[in-house]
């Protein structure tokens, strides 16, 4: 016979103002199976919890219903309290009187009646509750970091410094990411390469860190602590052990006019190339799409000149499978290209460039070695117009969100330009200046006040070419919408930050959620900013939302801390609310008929096939079996099962029916 205690909480005024809690407690005492029912102002407080603990002992309770707020908030609190009193924590349930009743109804007798009903329902459920025990799974203490930009490098180094193994996978031939392309960084104007390249070298040398450049994640299986990742190491057409990185092959390659990705198309490279001189690793790759040998079967100049004989034209991609305990996603972002803007010439004007291209023009390692020269004819631009919010905050043609970094980098660009061309004119068209951050607004003020950059609040409606110059037409909305026309030599569009190409496919491969713009979704916008909805997969940097370097580094360290916390344990404890397939003492007699509809319905690949064999080894039956490590307890299989052979522990069909029948 059940001996259930009911504890009704006023939640201050939240419940107490519309529900007569004393009356609810009184009438609940008459519910069959309830032996104790009280109300209290704050049940989650220390005295409230003590009330529950003492009642369990005093009345020898076999189950507890706490009628209070949402179980999302305090179920763990009350279950811990119940466990302290010696009762299995899964015999404690919550009736949600706040969100489901007091907050959505006015003060009335009906509201109180509904609260009593909600409790009655939960009492019926608890009567059918069984003691459950947390599931334990082992942990592989090796992390996988996807993306070798500053986010990935930081996360990988932090994890490695905690003493754990890390594999850093980067799809391009070198780590470094977008940060390695930047000239100087805001708000201090220190050189990006000078602060990044030492980190890149550290990553390459760290004994706990394995670098896999020119590689991509092919497949991911498994679950938190027990992932199996298949990595495709793309063929560099090179024996990396023999290559000394002398660079002779790259200088002798007859292909010299391939647009250079690292320089955002402003420079040229050969078909065998190292992305940039400070690349890590400093080993070339052959771009097969553009290589003369792969296109015509002749050439092999690189092979002839290589002093160590490291070129391998017959090298194939290699698949490597690794056991992984946790994953950090740090795949970064891309910028919208200038060809997305019809009013700015559909990308047909060479002197209308995007922010990343300007970084390369201003960089000492760029195609002009840092000299201010415009792409079309190499002339030093006397007038430069910067257009902020190009595509950002533009519902009709671009993306609705703020790209966050543009206000700051546009101020930086204008400053860098003025520092190199003192007599030049720099204009910035902007909507608002969003410069919240340490020393950020001071930085923008410096651009305006000390470096004499002209800020015009208004949009640019059109850019066209006239006599070798670009005519920029806009409006000055602080001057009553006065039309402004500027003849410029170079226009820099601060184009919108977008999710990296292939983000959607990657998210689906990893079973992580993503937003409508394909940025990966965090588990909770405030309280779980580096977690994803898939346990064991964490986020760092601009793959989640537009971010600047300081934020990216902070988030990467946050993700690393989460991984280190996970790896601090030898086994993981998981909530036992997972699916189980009915398996009567003789498994032969399970209701499961082995149709495996559940297997195709399961979004987590948690359902396996189990063969039931007789004593002579003959196959009697094949049953479904749930891998408790993978199961997330979503219940899709339960709904799919034709023979009602699957149940979620703690949410069985029997329990749900009991709840409904009592109403």
């Amino acid at each position: 016979m059940s001996r259930i205690g009911v504890f009704t909480c006023h939640c201050g005024e939240n419940i107490g103002a519309t529900v007569d809690c004393a009356k609810v407690a009184a009438c609940t005492r008459n519910v069959p199976g309830v032996v104790h029912s009280v109300d209290y102002k704050y049940m989650c407080s220390d005295p409230g919890q003590t009330l529950i603990k003492e009642a369990i002992k005093e009345h020898n309770l076999t189950g507890v219903v706490v009628a209070a707020c949402s179980p999302r908030m305090h179920e763990p609190t009350f279950r811990a309290a119940v466990a302290e009193a010696g009762l299995n924590p899964y015999l404690c349930e919550m009736a949600n009187l706040r969100e489901h009743c007091s907050w959505v109804h006015g003060k009335a007798d009906a509201t109180t009646d509904k609260a009593a009903d909600l409790i009655r329902v939960m009492v019926e459920k608890v009567k059918h509750n069984e003691p459950l025990h947390p599931i334990k799974v082992p942990v592989t203490k090796r992390a996988l970091v996807l993306g070798g930009g500053i986010a990935g490098i930081q996360a990988a180094l932090d994890i490695a410094n905690c003493g754990h193994q890390v594999v850093l996978v980067e799809k391009s031939p070198s780590i470094g990411g977008h940060m390695s392309q930047l000239s100087e960084t805001f708000p201090t104007l220190d050189c990006s390469q000078c602060i990044l390249t030492p980190r890149m070298v550290e990553a390459a040398r760290h004994p706990n860190l394995t670098l896999m450049t020119y590689a991509e994640l092919e497949k991911l299986e498994g679950f938190i602590g027990n992932f199996k990742a298949t990595i495709r190491k793309k063929a560099r057409q090179l024996d990396e052990k023999l290559c000394t990185g002398c660079g002779l092959c790259t200088t002798k390659c007859p292909q010299k006019k391939i647009p250079d990705e690292f320089n955002e198309g402003l420079g040229r490279r050969g078909a065998i190339y190292v992305p940039f001189p400070q690349a890590v690793p400093n080993k070339p790759v052959i771009d097969k799409a553009n290589c003369t040998f792969y296109r015509s079967g002749k050439c092999k100049v690189c092979e002839k000149v290589c002093p160590t004989g490291a070129i391998r034209f017959d090298q194939q991609d290699e698949l490597v499978t690794l056991d992984i305990g946790a994953i950090v996603l740090a795949t970064g972002f891309k910028v919208m290209r200038t060809d997305k803007f019809p009013e700015y010439g559909y990308g047909k004007y060479p002197d209308v460039i995007d922010g990343l291209q300007f970084e390369r023009l201003a960089s000492a390692s760029g195609p002009t070695l840092g000299a201010m020269q415009r792409p079309s004819d190499g002339k030093a631009p006397e007038t430069v117009v910067f257009v902020a919010c190009s595509g950002s905050r533009d519902r009709s043609k671009g993306v609705p969100y703020c790209s966050k970094i543009c206000c700051m980098y546009t101020a930086k660009h204008a400053m860098l330009y003025k520092h190199k061309m003192h007599h030049g004119k720099a204009y910035v068209f902007y909507m608002d200046i969003r410069s919240s951050g340490k020393d950020y607004d001071e930085f923008v003020r410096r651009a305006i006040e000390e470096d004499d950059v002209t800020y015009i609040r208004g949009r640019v409606s059109r850019i066209y070419e006239e006599d070798g110059r670009l005519v920029v037409k806009g409006a000055d909305t602080l001057m009553g919408g006065e039309p402004v026309e500027i003849k410029a030599d170079l226009v820099v569009l601060a184009t919108a930050v977008q999710a990296q190409d292939g983000s959607e496919e990657l998210a689906q491969k990893l079973h992580v959620s993503y937003d409508p713009y394909h940025f990966f979704a965090e588990s909770h916008p405030k309280l779980k900013p580096v977690e994803t909805n898939t346990a064991g997969i964490f986020l760092a940097g601009a793959c989640q939302a537009p971010r600047d370097i300081p934020e990216t580094v902070a988030q990467a360290s946050g993700a690393a801390a989460k991984v280190a916390a996970l790896f601090s344990r030898d086994e993981l404890t998981r909530e036992p609310q997972v699916a189980v397939v009915n398996r009567l003492p003789a498994p032969m007699f399970s209701y499961c008929v082995g149709c495996f509809l559940c297997q195709s319905a399961c979004p987590y690949q948690a359902i396996e096939q189990e063969e039931i064999r007789g004593r002579d080894g003959s196959l009697l039956k094949t049953l479904a079996k749930v891998n408790a490590g993978l199961c997330q307890g979503c219940g899709t299989c339960v709904a799919t099962c034709r023979t009602k052979a699957i149940d979620i522990q703690g949410f069985s069909n029997e329990q749900i029916f009991a709840e409904l029948m009592t109403l």
């Binding site: 019809p342 009013e343 559909y346 059109r462 066209y464 070419e465 006239e466 006599d467 005519v471």
Partner: protein
């Protein structure tokens, strides 16, 4: 092929040559124009600044008239008429309550399903037959000027690219012309300010003419009576603003196509232009 025809007031008055050239061209292409019976003013640039409902009621009646006449589609060569009719149709289509209210105002039921098309859309349907009919290729460098009303708002009209339209360029090329890439394709000509603020129109239209000349055009092609009159009739004023003497003619696309099809210049109304339609190579 048969299509409803809504000439509007401009085509009966200041832009008679647009009407003449549309009719001449339609004849040559085998397109039967059925005038919307008892049509009224579309509201033009006045109605929608005075009264929102009036600006819907006037086109609604035209659409209802066309529907009653069994027409599924009407051609409105004037860009302003086209824009007003298409906008009203879109608004009534999206708001059934408003549509019922308009039915009461105009005193007749209407489903507002009659499609409204501009002259470029209609001519585009003949892109395969045009080359075969070509007699005298219109072998000139042309700047195709679309103005603002033909392509905007894109959400309502769904016609061509709002910033860099191409449909007229394709038609001009089909007539044997060389369409140029220039900068003022969709800039404002000053429109109805022609009467009240001639100085403004002189400046705006002057810049358009100047850029066409700069690009090396021998003619400007248009598909809007207002654009044509501002670029043509206000040439004295715009030349005065520019301090230049640009004599580049401004032709309706229908006139250029008509000439290419060998139709007599007077039947196309070319004699009615202020700037004579002679094609001296432009001085760059």
């Amino acid at each position: 092929m048969r299509i409803g025809y809504y000439p509007g007031c401009s085509l009966l008055g200041s832009s008679r040559e647009f009407d003449e050239s549309v009719r001449a061209l339609a004849g040559a292409l085998g397109l039967e124009l059925v005038q919307v019976p008892d049509w009224n003013c579309c509201g033009a640039s006045s109605a929608h600044v005075l009264d929102h409902k009036l600006s819907l009621a006037l086109p609604a009646r035209i659409l209802a008239q066309a529907e009653a006449a069994g027409l599924e589609e009407i051609l409105a060569p004037c860009a302003a008429c086209y824009n007003r009719l298409a906008s009203a149709r879109d608004a009534l289509d999206k708001d059934p309550v408003l549509a019922r209210e308009m039915e009461k105002v105009i005193g007749r039921p209407a489903t507002h399903k009659v499609r409204v098309v501009n002259i470029l859309e209609v001519l585009d349907r003949f892109k395969d037959t045009l080359p075969g009919l070509l007699k005298v290729p219109f072998a000139h460098k042309v700047a195709c000027y679309y103005g603002c009303l033909l392509v905007r708002p894109a959400k309502v009209l769904h016609f061509d690219r709002a910033e860099d339209p191409q449909s007229m360029d394709r038609l001009a090329a089909a007539a044997g012309a060389a369409p140029l890439d220039w900068n003022y394709k969709t800039e404002c000509c000053g429109a109805a300010f022609s009467v009240t603020r001639t100085d403004l129109v002189a400046r705006l239209s002057g810049k358009i003419v100047a850029d066409a000349v700069r690009a090396g055009a021998e003619a400007i092609l248009v598909a809007c009576p207002m654009c044509q009159s501002n670029l043509d009739m206000r040439r004295t004023e715009s030349n005065a603003y520019l301090g230049a003497d640009h004599q580049i003619p401004v032709l309706f696309i229908t006139q250029a196509l008509g000439l290419a099809l060998g139709i007599d210049a007077n039947r196309l109304g070319l004699q009615r232009h202020m700037v004579p339609a002679t094609f001296a190579p432009a001085a760059v």
